[in-house]
Symmetry: C2
Subunit: 335 residues, 2 copies
Amino acid sequence: MSELRKDPVVGRWVIISSQRGQRPSDWANEPNVKGSGFCPFCPGSEDKTPPEIAALRQITDRSDVPGWQIRVVPNKFPALQVEGELNPKGYGHYDMMNGVGAHEVIIETPNHASDLADLSPDEIAQVMITYRDRIVDLKEDSRFKYILIFKNHGSAAGASLEHSHSQLIATPIIPKRVLEELEGSKRFFNNKERCIYCDIIKHEIKARDRLVAQNDSFVAIEPFAPRFPYETWVLPVQHFSNFEHLPEAEFLTLATIMKDILNRINHVLGYPPFNFVLHTAPIQNKALPDYHWHFEIIPKLAKIAGFEWGSGFYINPTTPELAAEQLRKFQASVA
Amino acid sequence: MSELRKDPVVGRWVIISSQRGQRPSDWANEPNVKGSGFCPFCPGSEDKTPPEIAALRQITDRSDVPGWQIRVVPNKFPALQVEGELNPKGYGHYDMMNGVGAHEVIIETPNHASDLADLSPDEIAQVMITYRDRIVDLKEDSRFKYILIFKNHGSAAGASLEHSHSQLIATPIIPKRVLEELEGSKRFFNNKERCIYCDIIKHEIKARDRLVAQNDSFVAIEPFAPRFPYETWVLPVQHFSNFEHLPEAEFLTLATIMKDILNRINHVLGYPPFNFVLHTAPIQNKALPDYHWHFEIIPKLAKIAGFEWGSGFYINPTTPELAAEQLRKFQASVA
């Protein structure tokens, strides 16, 4: 018998239909073999991107030259423009505003062949610290309400360049999905005086059947009502509403679990395309007692029906308990 | 400059970023060339599906034999099972219930080579009447709250069989997207005593820049804040909250505009995979003054970033005004 399960934060019901019988092997992908053609994100092509906003490099008195480990540049084809005023206005009886915002690219490594999961925990920690630094910098711009950080890996997941990178979009509005999480977790807090995510973490550590991995400061779980097979959340065990409030010392612990999870997904699902999205509190807020930042990692598996994206109605052919068991089994080697 | 636009019903902001410069030709697909292998939906294979629930056929005293024009069968791999009780229960601190519901397949034509758009308006009208009849029948089952009717066309849109078919899922819960529409339109109605969709239709017929087609009883528009390029809505001009309340005589008019729109999409976008979803009021309600049924048609275009589906945040590279202009230009021949 399949099941209907309700996400406790946003209240979305999903169908978990494990009879449909998909197994990890149904989704086997091939490791990304990267091409050797021209790449604007490789060292030596710094002039092919807009001038860098920030970079991690040994010699810091020059920019836009090789020698960097991480490089942050404006997106050459930005979805939002950094200059201008919002100018909210009506349009007939509709609401709109100018597409003002920031759209940046975080080039995670100079090495074209490396995926994020191939980097060392130290290098991944530097990528995460770069996210943090960009948030702290962009927070100063009062036009922005939210900073969305995400990674598209593989062309089926929306990456148009194969060189490993993440993206940042600072927006003058709060994305609907984030608003729903904020509202849902606030409702729970008003009722119980506890953070719903803290409750979920405690429950999952105790129940263990959806727990994938844990270390000193983080857990990785399959959520109770996942929209997608092998959807995985990584959360700090300690309560933090804002990603940028994470203590400096914890970034290596975060990087270690992120590498572990990406390795597990790669080995169990055959190097699938994936997206991850950082869910963090809006930037104009102080620390919130009722929200809890986390990463949501969504492997993009072939043959998943498309209609869910139009209807908001999800059918997931893999129980999170089975997904967690498969991911737990693989003892990822973390360098 | 790109724009941020707000959907007036559900309040979702989307980025319309036309500078990214995608044009219809960037998405050219090939007409579906259908294989000649075994197909369980073809005449002669009636015993390869579960026994039929309903069919449109000349000789009506036998079932599960050739001679039908439309055939409704249970999905062989159902997401929900029709037998059993809901048995809502807690699971730790989570909510769940048994996956009770109906999952049916509407085989739209006996002809394996025909797509829905290839059928005559009369034949498409019969498909739509079949949807209506299934809704009317399933309404009697008090376990169900919603009937979701949708079509996945092409494997990239989630179709696992190429023989033209739609699907129906009757569920004991109301999908979140529908709830959001119901809440948004109710809020508007409480404020203004008018149906927001009726307002949108009037506005779009007058403004014309997002109008794609119209006939005596229906309009097809690009919505003001579309999530996807060439997302197209088909709505009855007259107010109806429930699809099944449409007068019998209007089904041919509906079929005519659906065929017209699918033809326009095929010609402008090169026969893309697509989904359509019928948005109608929950079945347990009487007619609502504040909700308005409609179809949402979403071409599944290659190279659209995937992360939106995880974040609820949409970047649409094509303005609805450009999409409407392109779709208007093509004068579809409607047989």
